[in-house]
Structure formats: structure tokens, C-alpha cells
């Protein structure tokens, strides 16, 4: 029987009401009295030397308040990078300066050169057109291999375009090579994981405000982690102490990673608001977003899998080029390394793994985390090479996976992580059942009868979520902690507010988080309110990404609520004249064990704030507690995805006919929300597999910088999905036993789609072993026609 409230209930989302009636409050809905508007003049060349910027005519145009250039930011900090990777020789990565407005050179199309602040957007845009730029165009480097083989240097003051050359685990390299020498079979695959753009539907917005009377700065911004922005911008860019800087991220219209990072426009609006003593607002256009939001993926990889004669995996060896773009975005260096190399074991007990990653600067928009971040790249190459190996060795792809599955937990991989729990056979079996794989042949025949080629593709994935232990990530180069916080403030009349550093931008925290606390206390969910997104009213927290909100933020909330309950029990014990060890809390009633004496939750909370009859000598009045939670490990959601496609042999067009996801997310708080998260991830993964690609030409012009050119998945590109999360091996190290569900869909789906298309072609006699994404009709047709 499904529950109707608390943990496990599909509670309807309370935030929906405001979104469905047009009463959401997104950053662009914020307008401050007297605000000015900024328009950024951006580079239209990929690489160039700035010889002059003449703003004279523009500055005299109607409405212009002030025009800023890189010269205004001399002595101001640049955008910091939050993760330092150490290369395979023990040296730190090369880390270029990243000024707020370009200084000396422009390094990608979209690099901001000047900022025009005016009384209206239209005036700012008009004036920007009157700025006279003298930019000497330089040869640009776009291709990663060209960049490290003597191509033009993106940063003149760095030794080369190589950010780092990372080896993992470097000590295993010789043993891995030896295993390849001895292997009965080696499967090799070269592939690309193409550049994508996250494309949350809400473009980025920043509104800077400054109060001359107090010297306080406020930034309203479209962020997944306002505290992180406060820390990075305050401490590293503008030199504003945290107590004089407030960052607010109100309703945020999706993020998918791209709103984690600290961007130049945020620092600019905060800086300029102080300079002109007026609020300054920037709203990105979609075209600007394509040129200024951090991009995702963009790996070129060669993977080799060594197997023995029985198909047991012996070793994996990979070499990846990872595009950093022109500058290091906030967490960019961590994505191809610690979020990618550590996942190369997948679901399998491969004893030896060596991952080499060369991170490269090019004249392109910076690349950073996008839904899955490193884990989709790891899963894609692994699951593609396994599929190829199965075909080469004549082993059923399901059986090849199954015989190599990790089956005992905890399991320490050769790539530095320890999986706490999992049951990969269970999710595989569930997926085979839900997908009705036994009925595939009949469906294939039906497709064939109408001239379509049907194929079936499988993918097993694991991801590391709940990012994560501060001590560990600190060793790995993170320049931040990765705990989460919650303050639970109980009001006198029994309702309570939870202030959390986790940020909701579509995940439904305002609904799911109260379900947890309601269950713990035994009160109605409607008595609990979640407050987030404002550094002024929530404790320091690290925000929402890496499927961490419930696993880390939820755990902090549980810990704080436990403190509340412990204190409330002491108050109840006083009121009931009993020992607090004998007090039990159930359904919102405190009772003395074994008696009929009880007191209601609301009476205890009232006593805490009206302490007339209260143990004041032993206990402070009030009922408010804070907890910070820093987990001991990542969480490891896993599952199996199965895709069925039809390929039109005349056109190469692929259609997704069926898609099944069987995930193990551990315990589930709100199944409806979890399923929705998977659906969204699937569409993004199918989008990557079939449609999306951020394309540059050789000169560094972005050819896909609008929705006319960047193929976003639309409603008729995807089917109804079948998703199942009934296989649950709870996480062992967080109090809720949850693993996180936000990224799985995007990680698990691209290999399933590509495997299905390759299957369809091979079943029809085409010797096609791989097609690079996106599998557009042109690419599929070309592959099948040699």
C-alpha cells in the first residue's frame, strides 16, 4: 500500500502551485529601484590581441551610466579555480589568470571585453555597438590534439596548452601494461564524448546591489550554491568579507551543473553596483548563454579492455584528451580526473586499471561539470568497449557483463573508491523483465515487416554521488569542503523551519525534505517549511550538485532534527516528571514508556519558548539546532538501462521505441520525484546520444549557438519511459540510506542508445562497431553505407 505521507510517499509538490500560477520568483523577476542594466560586449573572434578599446562615442550615448573594460579590473582578483589537480609527475596543473573582463587578449568567442551600464537594456545594447574595438585576430586552436602538438598558445604566460597530464593510478601503469601483454583478447575503441551545453531553460541572471550606508553588498543570482558564490567572489575576486556580502539564489530555473560555477557576470554586477551606487542587472540572452555558460563533456578517448579467454576482464587502459576551454571554470579540473577516473571500474571486478587524462586549453568556452560530470564519460567508454568486446568474442553482452559483475560488498576498486552496497544482478534482472527482452524478437520482426531495423542496447552503470567527504576531496585537490548544513528552527506553536545550504532548482526539496522530518517527529508535512537560497538566512552550505542534496543535505537535516528531538524529550520529561531516557516520541506525542502519560509535540515546543514550567537550570529555552554533515564516503547508485531503437535504413533516422531504467538508489523518499529526476536525465542522455552537439568551426566560431542550431530534445524525440527503483540496497553510511538519483538518467542512457543502434545495424549485416554521438541520420546513414 503506498504511503500517503512521510518517507516513501509520492507527496505532491507544494512548490508547483506558485510555478503553475506564474507566481514563482526567479532572479529576472527581481527589479530593484533605480537599477541600471548591463550589456556585455563580447569577443566575436576566438583569439585576438586587444590593441585598443575606444568607448568615447559610446559613453556619450543616451542613458549610458558608465562603460567598464578590463582596465577597471586591474588589481581586482580573477575568477578562481576551486580544484587543483596534480599531474602524473607530481606537479600542479597549469592555472591561467581569468580576468572579469578581458585584459590584453580575448581567448574565445564570447569572452567579455567591455560592459556598458545604462538606464535600459536597449540603451546599453545600442551603446555597445558604438564601441570601437581594435583587435588583432590571432590563429585560434580548437582541436585538442593540435593544441598540445605545437598549436598556438591560448595563454602566452603558460608553458603550453597542456593544463595537466594525469595518470591514475600511476603506480599501476606497469602492471596494467603487463596484463595487456598477457591478455587472450584485447578490444580497443576510440570515441568522442561530444561537447554539450547544459541549457537550463532559465538563462543566467545577476543583479548586484550595494548599500552605501552600511557598505553591504548583495548579489541576486541564478545559482545552485549561493554560499559557494559568496565565498569565491568575496574572498578571491572582490575582497568582500562574508559578513558584508549576501548572495541570494531565489527560484532557479534549472541548473544541471552549469549554475554551480562562479561567473564573471556575477562579480561584475556586484562590483559595478558599488562603483555607480546603483543596482546593476544583467539578464543573459540565450545566444549569450551559449557563449558564456560553462559547457560540458568534450572528451576524446581511446579505451582498451583486456580479457582472458573466458571473457573475464583483466585490465583497462584509457587515454583521454579533455577540453578545458580557454580558462579553468570553477571545478573544471576535477571532472575528467576524480569524477571520471575513479568510475572506470564500473560495475565490474577488473583488477587493474590505468587512466591517463590530458587536459587541454583551447580557444573555446570553458568546460565544466554538466549533469553527471565525468561519470557519463566513464560509463560511455566502458559500456561501449564491453559491448564491442562481447561481439568480438561471440559472448552475449548480458552474460559478459554478468560474469564480471562485482557481487560482494564493500568492494574496493583499483581506482581508489570503495562501493558500500549494490546488487547489480538485481537491477539487471529487473531491467530485463521490465523491458520485456523476451518479447524483443517479435517486436524486431514487426519492425522488419514495415522496413525498419530494430536493435536492443544494454548499459550497466555506477556513479559516485553525494559529493562528498571533505577530507578525501581535500587530498584530491578540492579547495573547498563538501559537507552540508541545516538549521532546524522550531516555533513556539510547533511548526518548524529548516534552513539548509542545499538549493532546489527543480528537485522538489520543499516537498521531499519535510517528508523526512514529518516522519521523524510524527507531525504533518504542512507544518514544515524549507528555506534555502539566501546566505543571510541559512548556515554555510555547499549547495546542490552531484546528486548530493538528500544524501548530504538531508543527512544534515536528520542530524539537526535528532538534536531537536533529544532536547524536546528532555523538556517532555520535565513536563511529565519522568526520566528523559524513558520518553518515547511517536506520532507527535511524547510518552513515558509503559505508561499512559503523554504530552503533545506542540505543548513541548510551547514550553520551550514560554518556559514557565521548565528545567532552566539544566536546559536553555528555545528549540533550534544546527548540524553540519560531512559523509564518510560517496554513495554509489547503480542500475541497468535498456533501449530499443528503430533505424530507418533509407534515411538513417533513429527513433527510440522503448526505454527502460532499473535503478538502485537505496531508500527513496518521494518516488514521484525520483522518477521525474530519472525521466529528465534520460531525455538529456538521449539528447546527447541522438541530437545535441556544440559545434565549433576551425576558426573557433560556435556554429550551434541558438536553438535553431543546437538540437534540444523535444517532446516527440522521446518516448514514455519505463522506470523502476524497486531494487534498493540502502547506503550504509548516511542516516537515510539514500544514494541520490539526479544524474543517473544522463549517465546511463547514452551507451544504451548507441549500443542499440549498433545492434540494429549489425543484425542487418552492417559491419559497424561504433558511431560517434550524436547519432544523427547523416552519421548513421554514412556508417551503414560505408
Amino acid at each position: 500500500m503506498p504511503k500517503d505521507s512521510g518517507i516513501g510517499a509520492s507527496s505532491k509538490r507544494r512548490e508547483d502551485v506558485r510555478f503553475l500560477t506564474g507566481r514563482g520568483k526567479y532572479t529576472d523577476d527581481i527589479n530593484l529601484r533605480g537599477q541600471a542594466y548591463v550589456h556585455f560586449l563580447r569577443s566575436d573572434v576566438a583569439h585576438g590581441r586587444i590593441n585598443g578599446i575606444d568607448t568615447g562615442e559610446a559613453a556619450a550615448m543616451p542613458g549610458v551610466v558608465r562603460i567598464f573594460t578590463g582596465a577597471d579590473f586591474e588589481g581586482v582578483g580573477g575568477l578562481p579555480c576551486g580544484w587543483q589537480v596534480t599531474d602524473r609527475h607530481g606537479n600542479p596543473m597549469q592555472e591561467p589568470a581569468h580576468p572579469i573582463l578581458a585584459q590584453g587578449k580575448v581567448r574565445h568567442v564570447g569572452d567579455p571585453i567591455a560592459a556598458v551600464v545604462a538606464d535600459s537594456y536597449a540603451q546599453a545594447r545600442d551603446a555597445a555597438e558604438a564601441i570601437v574595438l581594435d583587435i588583432e585576430e590571432l590563429p585560434a586552436v580548437i582541436d585538442m590534439k593540435a593544441a598540445v602538438e605545437g598549436g598556438p598558445k591560448v595563454h602566452d604566460d603558460l608553458e603550453s596548452n597542456l593544463c595537466y597530464d594525469w595518470g591514475f593510478v600511476e603506480e599501476n601503469k606497469d602492471a596494467v601494461n603487463a596484463a595487456f601483454e598477457a591478455a587472450a583478447h584485447v578490444t580497443t575503441l576510440e570515441l568522442k564524448n561530444q561537447r554539450l551545453v547544459a541549457n537550463p531553460m532559465e538563462p543566467r541572471v545577476a543583479v548586484g546591489d550595494y548599500a552605501p550606508g552600511t557598505g553591504d553588498s548583495t548579489l541576486y543570482t541564478t545559482s545552485q550554491n549561493p554560499h559557494v558564490i559568496r565565498l569565491l567572489m568575496g574572498a578571491f575576486v572582490l575582497g568582500i568579507p562574508e559578513h558584508k556580502l549576501r548572495v541570494v539564489a531565489p527560484d532557479v530555473g534549472g541548473g544541471f551543473g552549469s549554475k554551480i560555477f562562479h561567473y564573471a557576470e556575477e562579480a561584475f554586477c556586484t562590483f559595478a553596483a558599488k562603483a555607480i551606487e546603483r543596482p546593476v542587472k544583467w539578464t543573459s540572452s540565450r545566444s549569450e548563454a551559449f557563449m558564456s555558460d560553462a559547457h560540458g563533456r568534450d572528451h576524446v578517448t581511446k579505451i582498451e579492455l583486456a580479457l582472458d579467454a573466458d571473457g573475464m576482464f583483466q585490465a583497462i587502459r584509457t587515454e583521454t584528451f579533455a577540453n578545458m576551454g580557454a580558462y579553468l571554470s570553477t571545478f573544471a579540473p576535477s571532472v575528467p580526473t576524480w569524477l571520471h577516473g575513479t568510475l572506470m571500474a564500473g560495475n565490474y571486478k577488473t583488477p587493474l586499471i590505468y587512466v591517463n587524462v590530458k587536459a587541454v586549453f583551447t580557444n573555446t568556452v570553458p568546460v565544466d561539470a554538466y549533469r553527471g560530470a565525468g561519470r557519463p564519460e566513464a560509463t560511455f567508454q566502458l559500456e561501449r568497449v564491453i559491448d564491442k568486446a562481447a561481439r568480438e568474442m561471440g559472448i552475449d553482452p548480458v552474460e559478459l557483463r554478468r560474469k564480471n559483475f562485482i557481487t560482494e560488498f564493500p568492494y574496493a576498486t583499483p581506482v581508489a573508491v570503495e562501493y558500500d552496497t549494490g546488487d547489480y544482478n538485481a537491477t539487471l534482472d529487473k531491467a530485463l523483465e521490465v523491458a520485456d527482452v523476451s518479447g524483443f524478437e517479435a517486436r524486431r520482426a514487426a519492425s522488419a515487416a514495415k522496413g525498419k531495423w530494430r536493435g536492443l542496447g544494454l548499459n550497466c552503470y555506477i556513479e559516485a554521488c553525494g559529493i562528498a567527504p571533505s577530507a578525501l576531496v581535500g587530498q584530491l585537490g578540492a579547495r573547498a569542503g563538501l559537507y552540508e548544513s541545516a538549521t532546524v528552527r522550531v516555533n513556539a506553536t510547533g511548526g518548524l523551519v529548516v534552513m539548509t545550504g542545499s538549493h532546489s532548482h527543480g528537485q522538489g526539496h520543499e516537498t521531499a525534505f519535510p517528508q523526512v522530518i514529518a516522519e521523524m517527529i510524527g507531525i504533518d508535512e504542512s507544518m514544515i517549511e524549507i528555506v534555502h537560497g539566501d546566505t543571510a538566512n541559512s548556515p554555510m552550505g555547499m549547495g546542490t550538485y552531484g546528486s548530493r542534496s538528500l544524501a548530504v543535505g538531508g543527512s544534515a537535516m536528520v542530524r539537526a532534527t535528532e538534536k531537536i528531538i533529544n532536547k524536546a524529550k528532555k523538556i517532555a520529561a520535565h513536563l511529565l516528571e519522568a526520566s528523559d531516557a524513558d520518553i518515547e516520541l511517536k506520532d507527535g506525542q511524547f510518552s513515558v514508556a509503559g505508561t499512559d502519560k503523554s504530552v503533545a509535540w506542540g505543548d513541548v515546543t510551547l514550553a520551550a519558548y514560554v518556559p514557565h514550567n521548565y528545567p532552566l537550570e539544566d536546559l536553555e529555552p528555545g528549540l533550534e539546532e544546527t548540524a553540519f554533515y560531512d559523509p564518510s564516503n560517496f554513495t554509489y547508485p547503480a542500475g541497468t538501462y535498456i533501449c530499443e531503437v528503430e533505424v530507418d535504413p533509407d534515411t538513417g533516422k533513429v527513433s527510440i521505441e522503448r526505454f527502460t531504467a532499473a535503478d538502485d538508489f537505496g531508500n527513496v523518499v518521494n518516488p514521484m520525484i525520483v522518477e521525474g529526476q530519472v525521466h529528465g536525465g534520460l531525455a538529456q542522455g538521449i539528447g546527447q546520444a541522438l541530437l545535441e552537439s556544440c559545434v565549433y568551426d576551425a576558426n573557433g566560431q560556435i556554429l550551434s549557438a541558438s536553438y535553431m542550431d543546437y538540437a534540444m530534445p523535444r517532446a516527440d524525440d522521446v518516448p514514455y519511459y519505463s522506470v523502476d527503483h524497486s531494487c534498493q540496497t540502502p547506503c550504509t553510511h548516511n542516516p537515510l540510506g539514500v544514494k541520490g538519483c539526479g544524474e543517473a538518467g544522463a549517465i546511463g542512457s547514452p551507451p544504451a542508445v548507441v549500443n542499440a543502434v549498433v545492434d540494429a545495424l549489425q543484425r542487418n549485416g552492417k559491419d559497424v562497431t561504433h558511431i560517434d554521438m550524436p547519432l544523427s541520420p547523416a552519421r548513421v546513414w554514412a556508417a551503414m553505407n560505408g
Binding site: 505532491k12 508547483d16 506564474g22 538563462p203 530555473g253 536553438y707 530534445p713
Partner: protein, 161 residues
């Protein structure tokens, strides 16, 4: 500046606009109706869909002056008279047809236009009709389900994952 007048959600409004002012900007900035969202600059995403004289229109493709004298309905005008959610809005909540909420106003407005012309659409018809509305969060599954349910059709089989 030119004065433009129209009826928005049953209320007569007017304002001074430039020739280049888009209807979306007039609604958001002039009227404070910030439920209409702008998600792109090429008339692709559909976050800004409103009804103009009963037809679904991307309000970023229309100059405010072109709507002079028109009857305009925005998401703020879609609830029932007593303030409760309208049928389509309620279906979106019931079937989890929204996540971040940014594309949602346009989705609801498009869905309303679809169901007016085609009260019992097939799944394929719903998906085809939504081609002009991009959602990045939901993968469309629950949006399609919500619209099918709002049209009074059985979606239980779909829900049986």
C-alpha cells in the same frame, strides 16, 4: 514612445512602449506579469507562450504594438475564479509535469490551446503539438501524461512503471 492598450486577463491595461518592445517585455516589465518567461531569443523555447485573442502565441515574437486592442491571457489568468488551480494546472501538479517551473507557464498555455482545438488528443498529437515548447527537466514524460489526463483520458497504464 507610443501608447498601447489591451485587455490582459480580463483587465484593461495600457502603457507607453517603443516600437521594438516585445509583448513579452510589455507583460513582464510593464505589467509585472512575470509568469511569462523568456528562455531564448529565437522563438524556439516556448516559455513565453500566451493567448492572444484565443490563439497560443509566443509573446517574444510579437511586438507589444501588434497586440494593441487584443484580448491577452497569461498564466496568471489560468486559475479558476476561486483561485484554485485550473484543470490543466492541477493535472501538471498531480502528474509531476514540472520541475524547475521555468518552461511551465508556456507549457500550460500551449496545452490549453491544444485541448481547446483537440479535446482528446493522442499521445503522438500531444508530443507533436509541444514541438515549440522545450523543457529541460522533465523529459516530457509527465508533461504528456498530465495533458492526456487533463483531457480526461486514462493514463493509468502509463503510470504503471
Amino acid at each position: 514612445m507610443t501608447t498601447v492598450s489591451m485587455t490582459v486577463n480580463g483587465k484593461s491595461v495600457s502603457g507607453d512602449v517603443e516600437g521594438r518592445t516585445l509583448l513579452s517585455a510589455f507583460l513582464r516589465e510593464g505589467q509585472g506579469l512575470t509568469g511569462t518567461h523568456v528562455g531564448c531569443d529565437t522563438s524556439q523555447c516556448g516559455s513565453c507562450v500566451v493567448h492572444v485573442n484565443g490563439a497560443a502565441v509566443k509573446s517574444c515574437t510579437l511586438f507589444a504594438l501588434e497586440a494593441d486592442g487584443a484580448e491577452v491571457t497569461t498564466i496568471e489568468g489560468m486559475a479558476n475564479a476561486d483561485g484554485s488551480l485550473g484543470t490543466i494546472q492541477q493535472a501538471f501538479q498531480d502528474y509531476h509535469g514540472l520541475q524547475c517551473g521555468f518552461c511551465t507557464p508556456g507549457m500550460v498555455m500551449s496545452a490549453a490551446a491544444l485541448l481547446k482545438d483537440n479535446p482528446k488528443p493522442t499521445e503522438a498529437e500531444v508530443r507533436h503539438y509541444l514541438e515549440g515548447n522545450i523543457c529541460r527537466c522533465t523529459g516530457y514524460h509527465n508533461i504528456v501524461k498530465a495533458i492526456m489526463a487533463a483531457s480526461g483520458q486514462d493514463v493509468v497504464a502509463v503510470a504503471a512503471e
